[in-house]
């Protein structure tokens, strides 16, 4: 098979994993040196596909041959898809060519499970080793870790890669047993633990070789089973806590050709995925707990964002006086982000905050209005019922897509 044909099969096979970040790597430079590549901690999206996804890395599978039969996966062994396999050298050539053209910031390599978990992991490591040692490549490398692989191999992967990830795929053990019979929560968590240990050790000792300096991430598929958002967010919260994950990615289940009957045959719930990302961001950056965003079982509302939903069900904290409130509480006001909250605090050292200041900071005035007090403004809406406010602030009905 020609390289270009392999590329089309193995890029297609990898696109269902939505993560593509290239951030968090330590600073590296090739200025005036042989080799290629730089990182500075900031991710660069080199292109965007018509599905709105960022292209930062060459994201491909080494092969889509796979012994596993995960029901949601297009590459499961019972799936009737064209199969292909790159040689490690081919992946290296593609990565370097795209990198020189400035199409990518690095490589995100994953693979179907062939022969054994160890063999598969060895092959992934071999690509990374070739890039780093033979070609002195200093760009970003993200390796997908095979959970059942020998810890020695995971340790080796951590020396070459900036980021490692193990996909948990489904948020509960029951779903995993039903939909991914060969995968086990235990081994997935063991692999996450091994990576976390590696990171901790490398950080503890100054001269220790680097170990996955951009940390680890994981992915959960949303909508392939009946799990609700509350379970998903609580799972994410415990992963952040237990293994210090940098990111949890939420991937709306995408219908695949010849779908088995065990998974839904429906268009992906993209808005649900979007709300989960918003909630996840609130947990990582604003200090919200999963239990605050969803107090019981169930899903996040689709018509309003999770921060507004929280504010509407916690009206006793509002309205907040921007001239005196704690910065953390200001950041919890709908329509005012962390950066604006910081800027408001800096500004109020110079003068009293007036409502028009929010306009200049480009806050979302519609959303913020009922929740703030400024020098010259008190909300008349403050005593209106939450349900009425919600009707006014919701994003309105959306026409369902036809397909």
């Amino acid at each position: 098979m020609q390289l270009i044909e392999k590329l089309s099969v193995l890029a297609d096979a990898a696109k269902y994993d939505v993560s593509c970040a290239s951030s968090g790597a330590p600073k590296r430079s090739s200025k005036g040196r042989s080799g290629l590549g730089a990182t500075d901690g900031m991710g660069i999206c080199h292109s965007f596909t018509p599905d709105g996804r960022c292209v930062a890395l060459l994201k491909i599978l080494l092969t889509n041959f796979c012994l596993y039969d995960c029901q949601y996966c297009v590459n499961r062994r019972s799936s009737d898809v064209p199969r292909a396999r790159f040689t490690p050298e081919e992946v290296v050539t593609l990565t370097l060519d795209f990198y020189r053209r400035n199409c990518i910031s690095g490589l995100f390599l994953s693979s179907g499970i062939i022969r054994s978990a160890d063999y598969t992991m060895e092959q992934l490591n071999r690509v990374a080793k070739l890039l780093r040692e033979e070609h002195e490549f200093r760009g970003y490398i993200h390796l997908k870790t095979i959970p059942d692989a020998d810890p020695q191999l995971i340790a080796e992967a951590g020396r070459y890669a900036d980021r490692l990830s193990v996909n948990i795929e489904l948020p509960t053990e029951a779903s995993l047993i039903r939909l991914a019979p060969e995968k086990q929560v235990v081994t997935i968590k063991q692999a996450m633990h091994a990576i976390h240990e590696g990171e901790t050790e490398a950080k503890a000792e100054k001269r220790a070789p680097r170990f996955a300096p951009a940390g680890q991430s994981t992915q959960m598929i949303v909508g392939a089973d009946a799990t609700d958002d509350s379970t998903i967010l609580h799972t994410a919260q415990s992963l952040y806590g237990d293994f210090r994950l940098r990111r949890v990615y939420y991937s709306a289940f995408s219908p695949i050709p010849h779908s088995p009957k065990t998974v839904p045959f429906e268009a992906p719930p993209l808005l649900r995925e979007h709300r989960l990302y918003q909630a996840d961001f609130l947990m990582r950056s604003y200090g919200f707990k999963a239990g605050e965003l969803l107090t019981g079982p169930g899903n996040l509302p689709l018509d309003i964002d999770p921060k507004l939903a929280w504010a509407l069900s916690n009206r006793e904290h509002f309205p907040v006086d921007l001239n005196s409130a704690e910065p953390a509480l200001i950041a919890r006001i709908p329509g005012i982000g962390i950066l604006s909250a910081k800027r408001l605090v800096a500004l109020r050292r110079q003068k009293r905050i007036r409502f028009e200041d929010l306009t200049r900071l480009r806050c979302s005035l519609e959303k913020a209005k009922p929740f703030v007090i400024t020098q010259d403004y008190r909300p008349s809406l403050a005593y209106r019922e939450s349900s009425a406010l919600r009707r006014q602030l919701s994003e309105g009905p959306v026409q369902m897509g036809l397909w």
């Binding site: 709105g52 062994r77 009737d80 898809v81 199969r83 020189r100 400035n102 905050i353």
Partner: protein, 276 residues
């Protein structure tokens, strides 16, 4: 109105501004003329009365960096905004620098635009290999909306190791010879030609990757256009594919995620391990 003519660069402006500040000339008395720009009708006749000649003022280094970044923003009043802010800060009004202020908000909006455009150049510029033996190894053509080339180009010296490369724009150009950065304004015709002709070569593999990594079941035009503005499409090898992929996705391939060129190939099931 006092017409101040300078070379159109930040350092030139800074010299002139320092002098004006020292003479105590208020911003509303000054008309800035960069290069050979023609001045306004009432310009230049009267030397404005200086308000109060002041002793040398100290300007925070951070503010100078902010002003320099904002100066890259292409707009008619770029130099007068900078002088107004400088004037206010020199007179002790620190709010002029803050986002909550009328001038400060404009300053920060411009800085933000410049950062975004720099990011666009780092992201959407495409190098093509050059076969001509006397030319650099790689060349790229890029059309930035602001004057960001000199501050944005060093990024590629870090990325490209010992390769030499050239970036040409409709206005200026830089050549990195592997050691030193050469700047040219205006862009020499030969560089322009080199960059524009190189752009068409050999991106087949990249286009194939782009096509295959798109999931038609998740078509989302708004997010695409917010992040990859249409003005960049024409100079990207994948640009012409975008409308094609979108219309194909709408015409039915949206049912599932697989690309046509994969779906039409013969498939293969894998035997259960131990059963082969």
């Amino acid at each position: 109105m006092l017409q101040v003519r300078f070379d159109g660069r930040f350092d030139g402006w800074r010299e002139a501004a320092r002098d004006l500040l020292h003479r105590g000339i208020a911003p509303h008395h000054v008309e800035w003329l960069a290069g050979d720009e023609a001045g306004g009708l009432f310009g230049g006749h009267v030397e404005p009365e200086s308000i109060e000649p002041s002793s040398p003022v100290r300007i925070p280094r951070q503010l100078l960096a902010e002003l320099e970044t904002a100066a890259r923003f292409r707009t008619a009043d770029r130099w007068s905004l900078l002088y107004r802010i400088l004037w206010r800060v020199a007179k002790g009004d620190q709010t002029a620098r803050l986002v909550g202020d009328v001038d400060g908000s404009e300053l920060h909006a411009r800085i933000k635009t410049i950062r975004r455009e720099t990011h666009h150049l780092h992201a959407f510029l495409r190098f093509s290999p050059i076969t001509c033996p006397s030319g650099p190894d790689y060349a790229a053509w890029f059309e930035p909306a602001h004057d960001i080339l000199t501050s944005a180009a060093p990024h590629f010296a870090e990325r490209m190791g010992l390769h030499s490369w050239l970036i040409a724009t409709p206005d200026d150009a830089v050549l990195w010879d592997g050691d030193v950065m050469h700047y040219a304004n205006p862009c020499p015709a030969i560089w322009r030609q080199l960059a524009q002709t190189a752009q068409e070569s050999g991106a087949e593999l990249w286009k194939t990757y782009y096509e295959s990594t798109f999931n038609p079941a998740r078509l989302n035009r708004d997010v695409l256009q917010n992040n990859l503005p249409v003005r960049f499409w024409k100079n990207l090898p994948e640009g012409p594919l975008i409308p094609q992929l979108m219309s194909r996705a709408r015409a039915g391939a949206q049912r599932d995620g697989q690309a046509e060129r994969v779906a039409t190939r013969p498939g293969k099931r894998i035997e259960r391990p131990g059963q082969a």
